[in-house]
């Protein structure tokens, strides 16, 4: 059915284009171009009419047909099945399996009838979709071909259509943001305020609680399972790892950037820059593997030599490797910023007799400070939102500690831990992950907006 539909689509598209173009070409008489639009535009217009009509019909039609076939088949299984969501989905699965011949075991007569109903109604519906789509396509094609005349402004209409399509593409980014905000916000709202939700915390319990212990009630009668959604240990864990990362990456990234921008010869730059780019391009899952299986045991071994008790999933290991991850961010952004400081400032400092390092320390860095600060903010936002390194190298237990040798957990680790595997959308545990995601989104968004704003203003200052 689907292949037939798209075969018809392809044939009609080609036919529309060539018919339209030929018709337009036949209007050209005596050699002089007397058409307003080129013949191919006269072909493209009916072609797009066919495309739009058939694709829209398909998308809407098949969904409607599927819904109708499902409900008509389920109705045969009795009202009880329709009302109970669990039985409903089980019945639906059975019906679909029988209809596609994948069902194993003997099916009851009722199920077989329902599957029969499902198959026949969906077949009927699909044929209707096919007929309707082809009909609409032919109407559209006929309309635009019949309008062809030397004065018909086919190009303008076609270009307007393209403009609309481009506008829709441009709004996809906005739709993504809206999608993120709404999906996260909606579940977060339910987490805090849905009266039907068991074990939900209040906002202040969430923000100021010091215990994190999400548990899902497995059965309905397990009403009073001990849960705690205190956000503080996750926050401190995230901040601890981020702080370690910045302590590592800040000096390394900044000094690399200064050296590359001010001291390095073009040849040295040509070698050193790709190394930083390689580091930036390494997937975080690889860095996580390195952190968990090489760096963490190394740190543990060193700690043992000095009589320190280092957790095998210490915050230090995760923080160190995360620091390495964000070095390229800091160095490349700072490099850009330092390069855009006007040469006249440097020349002025040299003229006063300053050495290169004095110029950098007293003139260039103060001038570039806003940009460098925003580079750090973007790097912090990266570190907070980074998932794989901490999932693989940091712990799961929510410890409230500032000791980098102990295991801590982070916001992203908890989101991942809660949501991987089966989840139901009506338990506080699952919704807690969305609340964490909301916090993560808001925090990183604020950091990004401020940083990008600073960079923008800074560029304007020197341009």
């Amino acid at each position: 059915m689907t292949s037939l539909y798209f075969l018809t689509l392809a044939i009609l598209v080609a036919a529309a284009f060539f018919l339209g173009r030929q018709r337009a070409q036949s209007l050209i008489t005596g050699g002089a171009p007397s058409l307003h639009s080129l013949p191919s535009y006269h072909g493209m217009l009916p072609m797009s009419a066919v495309l739009v009509a058939m694709l829209l019909t398909y998308v809407i039609g098949t969904n409607v047909v599927a819904k109708y076939a499902e409900s008509s088949a389920l109705a045969m299984l009795g009202a009880e099945t329709v009302a109970d969501p669990l039985k409903r989905s089980a019945g639906l699965r059975d019906i679909q399996n029988i209809a596609t011949g994948k069902h194993s075991g003997e099916a009851s007569a009722m199920l077989k009838d329902a599957a029969q109903q499902f198959a026949s109604s969906s077949a009927l519906g699909n044929w209707m979709v096919y007929g309707l789509g082809s009909l609409l396509a032919l109407i559209g094609m006929g309309y635009f071909i019949s309008r062809i005349s030397p004065v018909y402004r086919a190009r303008n209409i076609f270009e307007k259509l393209i403009l609309v399509i481009m506008g829709i593409c441009a709004t996809v980014a906005i739709l993504t943001t809206i999608g993120i905000v709404f999906s996260v916000l909606f579940e977060t709202y339910r987490f805090f305020f849905d009266p039907a939700l068991k074990g939900r915390p209040t906002v202040s319990q969430f923000l100021f609680g010091t215990e994190w212990n999400p548990q899902a009630a497995l059965r309905a009668d397990q009403g009073d399972i001990k849960t705690a959604f205190g956000f503080v240990p996750l926050l401190t864990g995230t901040l601890l790892i981020t702080t370690i990362a910045i302590i590592v990456a800040g000096p390394l990234g900044l000094f690399s950037a200064i050296y590359l921008a001010e001291y390095a010869s073009p040849r040295f730059r040509a070698i050193a820059k790709p190394i930083l780019e390689v580091l930036a391009g390494i997937p975080t899952v690889v860095l996580g593997f390195f952190a968990a299986l090489t760096v963490a045991p190394l740190i543990r071994g060193w700690g043992e030599q000095y009589g320190l008790d280092v957790a095998s999933e210490s915050a230090l290991a995760a923080g160190l490797v995360m620091g390495m991850m964000i070095i390229p961010f800091i160095s490349s952004l700072s490099d850009d910023v330092i390069n855009s400081v006007p040469q006249s400032l440097r020349d002025g400092a040299y003229a006063l007799g300053a050495t290169k390092s004095e110029t950098i320390k007293n003139v260039i860095l103060p001038a570039a400070l806003p940009g460098i600060v925003s580079a750090f903010m973007l790097a912090i936002s990266r570190a907070i939102g980074e998932t794989m390194i901490v999932v693989m190298a940091a712990g799961l237990a929510a410890n409230l500690t500032a000791n980098p040798l102990e295991a801590v957990t982070t916001i992203t680790v908890q989101i991942k831990t809660i949501l991987v595997g089966d989840q139901e959308f009506d338990s506080a545990k699952t919704l807690a992950a969305f609340a964490l995601g909301f916090v993560l989104f808001v925090v990183t968004l604020i950091l990004n907006v401020i940083a990008l704003q600073v960079v923008r203003r800074y560029r304007e200052q020197y341009d």
Binding site: E159, I180, Y263, L293, D309, S357, F434
Partner: protein, 576 residues
């Protein structure tokens, strides 16, 4: 210099020659050199880290590309498959191959009678050992009833033993003539010289060394104090006392256990694991049976030491005996591990491959590419060329920049809530993964495409407009083709980013254990980075190597993609 004549102002002399000035200059230059070196050190540390990472991955990953197997003659009995189904590939494939491979192994190492010995021997082979034999028989049923020379896959532990032996093995020729008391079971061996005196000493030395390390450990633990450690410390102290007593006792008889290095005797084609040692005689258990109980001349028998204590390694003395014997007989072969690239995931490390993950990655990237190139390019063209300057387009601009910096896991939440929960798309499917990744890399592609469009000089467009092209004709026929190399470079970099992305795919369920290679966009699948994450979580040492091997493949692809991007940039970059 000189004073300026005729002024009463205090004389200013540029002091460059006094010692104080020279010191100042030296200090400033030293500060300059120091500051410069900070930069070099920072770059050096970063380079070192990248080098350590790459080296560590390659060191771990290279062994994953080879696999040891036993190439030996396997006798396939004629009644292996019922006579009427001799040519039926399905029947041949579903036959039980375990007895066949077991018999081949028993023929290679004869004389293993005990149940435990036999079980240990068959554990040397993988559960998929007969896969190649099965393929050959199915392809050529006439082999049934004959002897086939075929590689049998070793288990992961045996494979690892050959890749990185878990213990050093020291062999020393016997000095006296040794006489075993039997050929199987518990036997004693007498020697004409006091051959084993040195062994007794070395055992006592090993015991002393162990006691010393334990003492350090106990001291370390007791510095922490705390109740929870007390029993452990007591335990260690008891062990130390026991070991020390053993070292100090003048007895010349030593009893061996798994906590000290293993001592064995190779004699008359057999292997005896020693349990009791005195100067001139030893008692032990026969691991590999002796051919005879005859005397062995000096030099014809050897004392073998497995230095790592048995309790500290994964392969037992018996297994080492088997494996070393198989190696001596020339059965062991190390070959390129094609299975790594042709098999799906498995719970057995030696059977697991990355094919499923590779295909999953391919399908996912296909969806991503198909969505985000047209949408990204059209959006970029619109914003760069056609969009009216108003609040809405301003918001879109800011929004795209911010979206590029949103944590990837948040896109996973979006996919979970919208695509899976709201639209009821199938879980774990490349379709959904591709959708999520498309949204994730779309901002990158739009930003790159806009930069490429901006780099095309306006004169091109103006010339097109001047000869009568419409705005869209000018853009699509002239500006866009010139911007295409830049757009492609941005697209490839975006795709490389998508290929390495893991976190959002975990959210939409692409972490399931999936054996089958996916065939369609809606099949359950996993992708390469997720496979890496899954394997890295498994406890088996062999999976650690597999993980590093998979990482090498992933990095290889990323390297190729980035190389292609750099090549395109170099080849088509134009300065106007």
């Amino acid at each position: 210099m000189t004073d300026i004549a005729g002024t009463d102002a205090p004389a200013f002399r540029l002091d460059m020659t006094s010692d104080a000035a020279k010191r100042r200059i030296r200090k400033r230059y030293a500060a300059e050199a120091r500051f410069k070196s900070y930069g070099l050190v920072a770059l050096g540390v970063t380079t070192l880290f990248v080098a350590a990472l790459v080296f560590d991955i390659i060191r771990n990953g290279l062994p994953a590309f080879t696999q040891h197997s036993l190439t030996m003659d396997v006798a396939v009995p004629a009644d292996f498959v019922p006579a009427d189904k001799r040519t039926d590939p399905v029947a041949i494939r579903s036959a039980d191959y375990f007895p066949v491979t077991r018999d081949a192994l028993k023929a290679a190492i004869p004389g293993i009678e005990s149940r435990q010995g036999e079980r240990t021997l068959t554990r040397v082979l993988s559960s998929g050992a007969a896969d190649e034999l099965r393929d050959r028989l199915a392809a050529d049923p006439s082999l049934i009833g004959r002897t086939v020379k075929v590689p049998l896959l070793l288990s992961d532990d045996a494979d690892l033993y050959f890749k990185a032996p878990s213990t050093p093995i020291v062999k020393r020729g016997g000095v006296g003539t040794a006489t075993p008391s039997g050929t199987t079971g518990e036997i004693t061996i007498l020697t004409s010289s006091n051959d084993f005196a040195a062994e007794v000493v070395s055992i006592k030395q090993a015991a002393k060394a162990k006691a010393d390390t334990l003492a350090i450990e106990a001291a370390r633990l007791s510095t922490f104090g705390g109740q929870s450690l007390a029993p452990r410390i007591a335990e260690i102290n008891a062990e130390i006392a026991e070991l020390r007593a053993r070292v100090d006792s003048p007895k010349v008889e030593e009893v061996l256990d798994g906590k000290l290095p293993s001592k064995l005797v190779e004699i008359n084609g057999g292997l005896v694991k020693l349990t009791k040692i005195t100067d001139i005689s030893v008692a032990g258990e026969v691991l590999l049976p002796l051919t005879s109980a005859a005397e062995a001349k000096p030099g014809d028998w050897r004392v073998v030491t497995y230095t790592t204590p048995e309790s500290n390694r994964k392969v037992s003395d018996l297994e080492i005996g088997f494996l070393e014997r198989l190696r001596e007989k020339g059965f062991v072969e190390n070959r390129f591990n094609t299975r790594f690239f042709t098999a799906g995931d498995s719970r057995e490390p030696e059977l697991a491959g990355i094919r499923g993950a590779l295909i999953g990655s391919l399908l996912t990237l296909f969806v991503t590419l198909a969505l985000c190139v047209p949408i990204g390019v059209l959006a970029a063209v619109y914003l760069e060329e056609f969009a009216p300057k108003n609040r809405l387009t301003d918001i879109i601009e800011v929004n795209i920049n911010n979206l590029a910096a949103v944590p990837s896991i948040v896109f996973g939440l979006l996919g979970l809530a919208v695509f899976l929960n709201f639209f009821n798309f199938p879980r774990s499917a490349p379709l959904v993964g591709g959708l999520v990744l498309a949204l994730l890399v779309l901002p990158t592609i739009i930003i790159a495409a806009r930069a490429a469009l901006k780099a095309v000089p306006p004169s091109i467009k103006e010339a097109a407009l001047g000869v009568g092209a419409s705005h869209q004709q000018a853009v699509f026929h002239h500006v866009l083709p010139l911007a295409m190399p830049g757009i492609m470079t941005g697209t490839i970099i975006g795709m490389a980013h998508a290929l390495g992305e893991t976190a959002p795919l975990l959210m939409i369920g692409m972490v399931a254990f999936i054996v089958d290679v996916p065939g369609a966009l809606t099949d359950a699948a996993t992708v390469l980075p997720v496979q890496i994450y899954l394997w890295s979580d498994l406890p088996e040492q062999a999976f650690k190597l597999k993980t590093a091997g998979a990482i090498m493949v992933l990095l290889g692809f990323l390297f190729l993609m980035n190389g292609a991007a750099i090549y395109l940039r170099k080849k088509f970059e134009r300065r106007w």
